[in-house]
Subunit: 310 residues, 2 copies
């Protein structure tokens, strides 16, 4: 059976054809358009362009989704609860279309074909512009009473601490979301600290400090970015320990751009930061970096669509 | 159908006969013996003394349980993974016996017949000597990969903060567990602050400052206990908000001795403390005090035993 997975990000849309082997056989990637109508047309065209006809389509987007409808998608312009993208695309393509949170898609992809294989109590932390999370609990994808679970980025780990993009203080994302980390670097640079982060950004011709830009500045030992990453690791450690304490998961997958660039040593640092706060012993291999790279979201979206076919 | 529920605490054992109406029809209460063998004999006798023959028995104990075996029960002497109480009792009584964490029993009781009715995404905080928790996620009791979920008392909400009984710092239990709260009061008294807590304890002839003792000192506006309770409420608020952010539950039940004595106004205070840290709006009636009082554990244990009969 062939399924299509669609990974909608703020910058790009990735589409892939996924087979019974849970691998991506054919793929397409394009810029994300600004209007929702344009996006529906574009995703429809991209899916049709694939080398095979899928029996169902799954779409992952950065936002809160409930029953295939958007509850909140602050990073996608024009997406509201009234925008029924799944129904529009389903009418267009003639197959069932599922709409799901992108971090949940990423984790399901890793569960089925990546670093989460074999675990039925799995937590996934997705580190990108913000900090998202997905969960597989008792062998089943979990998304809460109203699709709003997995707000790991907004767990408060330092009450009264750094201001987060959400307006509150001390959230994990205030320390470990790339957008907030870049703001911290900018503030420190403005205060006279020397950092090469923005030179790397300029050199690479990027509109923002991407994970690659961060990795480059870290690799040369830049003090400011090193300190900011230390704070991020500390915050992620408290968060991961709290998730283990609360949910007794047996594996934590760390994915997203930052994890992709920094790899398993970064996951190991998060585990080391978590251990002192964990009430139970954490196994050595408990925190692992995602194995499918950019494909996890596409594979997961396709697999969720497959699961819904019954 | 009749079931028996057994609630084993550090001080008392409560046993009840529960019918299809989820109510306790007949009950017995005795002191908890010190040895495990004596406990098995005593529970067996207490169950036989009930006014009816149960088709299954559920036992809740304060500890980590996995597959009906004790993983850890620091508050019960002599209970280890080798102590197969469920099998011993089952052989003795001739019916299936389930062993479950007591906070999980309490929450299931509230879910079936108390303040949690109608919710399928339910979190229960049990405030007693320590701080325990139970979960019903997606309509099913949840206990994690190895029975260790629900360590809400050991969520770290103030990194580097107060020392907890578990040896770590900043756990919720360090602020909101009655044993730690009493230690704080003792330390403040030793440092010269005036408190009536220990006078109330003596007056009532209690070996420790029970929830009733605390409630009495709070009722007369004792400054020391009021300050300690304020800290407890603040810590519980951060924890409850984090649970809502992570799990998107739609109701939180607060039970246990302290909640029983302080009632819904206490639950309202926890909700008010949680709101500033919650990423989604929390409904007015989201945090509710347990409705079954001392019966929740017995009813929940019986209902878990019923569920296992298939």
């Amino acid at each position: 059976m062939l399924l299509a997975g669609v990974d909608v990000g703020g910058t790009n849309i990735g589409v892939g054809l996924v087979g019974d082997d849970h691998q991506v056989h054919h793929r397409a990637k394009e810029d994300t358009p600004t209007s929702v109508d344009a996006l529906v047309a574009q995703v429809s065209r991209m899916v049709r362009s694939l080398d095979g006809t899928p029996e169902a389509v799954g779409i992952g987007i950065p936002g809160i989704i409930h029953d295939d409808r958007v509850v909140q998608a602050p990073n996608l312009e024009g997406w509201t609860a009234e925008t029924d993208v799944a129904a529009q695309l389903s009418a267009d393509l003639g197959v069932p279309v599922s709409l799901v949170n992108d971090a949940q898609c990423g984790l399901v992809g890793e569960w089925v074909a990546g670093a989460g294989q074999g675990s039925d109590f799995l937590f996934g932390v997705w580190l990108g512009t913000g900090v998202g999370a997905g969960m597989v609990l008792d062998g089943k994808g979990y998304d809460g009473a109203n699709g709003g679970s997995g707000e790991f980025g907004h767990l408060v780990v330092r009450p009264g601490g750094a201001r987060c993009g959400c307006g509150r203080r001390g959230c994990i994302e205030a320390y470990a979301g790339r957008r907030m980390m870049t703001e911290s670097a900018r503030a420190l640079a403005a205060a006279g600290r020397k950092t090469s982060l923005f030179e790397h950004q300029e050199e690479r011709g990027k509109a923002k400090a991407t994970s690659g830009v961060w990795a480059a500045a870290l690799a040369e030992g830049d003090r400011v970015v090193t300190e900011i990453l230390d704070e991020a690791v500390a915050a992620l450690g408290i968060g991961v320990a709290n998730v283990c304490n609360l949910l007794d998961v047996d594996r934590v997958v760390v994915g997203g751009g930052m994890a992709g660039k920094l790899g398993q040593p970064f996951a190991d640092r998060i585990a080391a930061a978590a251990r002192p706060h964990a009430v139970r012993k954490m196994a050595d291999s408990m925190v692992v970096v995602a194995g499918l790279g950019d494909d996890s979201g596409v594979v997961g979206a396709a697999e969720i669509a497959r699961g819904r076919l019954g």
